[in-house]
């Protein structure tokens, strides 16, 4: 039930009520509302119960193992939240002058620096407000670089077929054409196909390494050389940075641009689709094009660098300085870990993934790339189970919910049929991993003996199997007053 549907005239939640009527006399008359906003009128207790119940319906990292591949659903340490909530941070107005913002600017400056060092890049901008925006900033910088050199025939971005769908979308948004590069049977980029594809039209390649199939591309040096020799640039999608944090640096692999998903690798909350942060790092030749603002240090003082200081910048991605609260949480997380802690993140993330991979393989599940070691994630394919029992990957995923586990990523990447992409992260205990393996083994036994149990799952959740086809065909996204009166 929506909270609007509980509304009754005259009810009121004192805790949420404003202390005074707002004075709107300084707003132009044409911009003021003619009618009252259709806000729900409920008691304080109703509001508390409504949102508490909603939160209980959720799977979250605070309540369940959440091995959602390619998403890095790791624990968000409470210290990051409590320190980022200090009144000095919370109460700062985004338009406060530099002289009143030195503390937070020091944090941002240091975060720029730590991200720069851990990725091996030349400079970092924190401006993009999400991973996809970081991608867009990255390809826009590639375009700005070629355009500034008069190299305007470079209009094609190469994207491996295992890439995140956002990669080709970002390239198209920045005005490029996309050419797909196939993946070889061992999970690496097909290097011969890449050599055939590069040329004077190549602006760059967008690559995730480790890739979305969960393996570290052994040919990364050859890929970098091939693209660079053709005059293109290398873009690193930081989605899988958790696997190599503190161990291998994209800058050392030859990448020219990288975006980082702070909500993945640096443990800021994923909740509700945002807010996120997708800082970008660049090699020296792309530095002039970084999105603004940047924080620079002059003696003991921190300053913003904006459009007038960086005339070649691709511009702003967001208002003010980006998602400060998220950047702060990532900063605190990075400071709590230090360089040594970051190495432990990737060591345990890959150890946990390889432990799960070995246990599931020993239990008879089919690995998509059996000859490869997992990075921080890996793929099993349920083709055999689908063929023999008619129970597909989605049925397994839904049944896992009944066992108290969030499902892994299903049906991605597209090139592996009936796949589950499993990423345990470094946060989980051996007991949690063992419990997940046991659940999958039980579900496979159910698939054989009682396949309907899987096909109708989940059985224990607040909602049963949703009609996602109808949901996609008949979008119903916004509540309207009229619906309440129907």
């Amino acid at each position: 039930m929506l909270i609007q549907e509980q509304s009754r005239p005259g009810r009121m939640a004192t805790a949420q009520a404003p202390l005074d009527m707002a004075d709107v006399s300084d707003l132009p008359a044409g911009l003021r509302r003619k009618t009252r906003a259709a806000l729900p009128e409920v008691s304080e207790l109703q509001a508390v119960r409504h949102y508490t119940r909603l939160s209980q319906k959720n799977f979250s990292i605070d309540t369940h193992f959440y091995p959602l591949g390619s998403c890095t659903m790791k624990y968000n340490p409470r210290a990051c939240n409590s320190l980022a909530s200090l009144p000095g941070f919370l109460a700062r107005h985004p338009a406060a002058p530099e002289s009143h913002s030195q503390g937070i600017m020091a944090c941002l400056y240091e975060l720029q620096d730590m991200l720069r060092i851990v990725t091996g890049m030349h400079a970092v901008s924190l401006a993009p407000a999400a991973g996809a925006q970081g991608e867009l900033a990255g390809v826009m910088m590639i375009r700005a670089y070629h355009d500034a050199r008069g190299d305007t025939a470079r209009r094609e971005i190469l994207v491996p077929d295992a890439a995140h769908g956002t990669n080709p979308a970002s390239a198209i948004m920045a005005g490029f054409e996309v050419r797909e590069i196939p993946t070889g049977s061992n999970g690496d980029v097909d290097i011969a196909a890449l050599r055939d594809a590069v040329g004077p039209q190549t602006a760059g390649i967008m690559l995730t390494n480790p890739s979305t199939v969960g393996v570290f591309d052994c040919n990364i040096q050859a890929i970098a050389a091939t693209v660079h020799e053709a005059g293109g640039l290398l873009y690193y999608d930081g989605a899988n940075l958790n696997a190599i944090l503190g161990k291998v640096r994209p800058g050392d692999m030859g990448f020219d641009v990288i975006h980082m998903n702070l909500h993945k690798t640096f443990s800021t909350p994923h909740g509700g689709g945002g807010p996120g942060a997708g800082p970008v790092g660049v090699s020296k030749r792309l530095e002039p094009y970084l999105p603004v603002p940047l924080v620079v240090k002059d003696g003991a003082a921190y300053h913003w660098q904006v459009e007038k200081d960086r005339p070649e910048s691709i511009g702003r991605m967001t208002a003010f300085g980006g998602n400060m609260g998220i950047l702060l949480r990532a900063y605190i997380y990075a400071r709590l870990l230090g360089a040594e802690g970051m190495r432990r993140v990737s060591e345990y993330a890959t150890l946990n993934a390889n432990y799960l991979l070995a246990r599931l393989s020993n239990a008879g599940f089919t690995l998509a790339y059996p000859e490869r070691r997992a990075s921080h994630e890996f793929i099993i394919t349920l083709r055999k189970e689908a063929k023999e029992h008619g129970t597909n990957a989605m049925d397994f995923a839904k049944r896992l919910l009944d066992y108290g586990f969030h499902a892994p990523t299903t049906y991605f990447p597209l090139l592996v049929p009936e796949c589950l992409l499993i990423e345990p992260t470094e946060s989980e205990s051996k007991e949690a991993l063992d419990g997940f393996v046991e659940a999958l083994i039980k579900i496979r036994a159910e698939a054989k003996d009682r396949p309907d149990l899987l096909k109708q799952a989940p059985h224990t959740m607040p909602v049963r199997r949703l009609d996602d086809v109808r949901a996609a065909r008949q979008l119903d996204l916004a509540w309207r007053q009229a619906q309440a009166q129907d």
Binding site: G165, Y411, L414, P417, D468, V469, A472, R473
Partner: protein, 130 residues
């Protein structure tokens, strides 16, 4: 078992091609393709009048699982599109070789089967994926 009509030609990317005998061909996606994609929720049709080379991406189908490009099986100019799919993409699942056709091309070349697979060859492609 997916249905592979004997009177059509096919591509490795799972389009079917019907020779209309008048210099045009009708194109859709195969039964195997609609089965693998699952329930379709959206079809992006090409523009009438636009020309494509063989293997150019020219339309998009989106299911609850994935969005996939549809490629022009042969070079040609789009002369008709199945507008009914805008409102009823599920037709593609229900009747992939009939009401679920996607577009028609006026051929650039003379051979409506140039570079295409015959039903037996397409059957082998499907078998290899199973």
């Amino acid at each position: 078992m997916s249905n592979i009509p004997a009177d059509l030609n096919y591509t490795e990317s799972h389009e079917w091609v019907r020779d209309n005998g008048d210099g045009t061909v009708t194109v859709g996606i195969t039964d195997h393709a609609q089965e693998a994609l699952g329930d379709l929720v959206f079809v992006e049709l090409p523009e009438v009048g636009k020309s494509f080379a063989a293997k150019d991406a020219c339309a998009v189908v989106e299911s609850v699982k994935a969005a996939s490009d549809i490629y022009a099986p042969v070079a040609g100019e789009v002369v008709a599109v199945n507008d009914a799919l805008d409102d009823a993409p599920e037709t593609l699942n229900a009747d992939p070789y009939g009401e679920g056709w996607i577009f028609q091309l006026k051929l650039v070349g003379d051979d409506p089967a140039a570079g295409l697979l015959d039903p037996d060859a397409y059957q082998r492609v499907v078998d290899d994926e199973a």
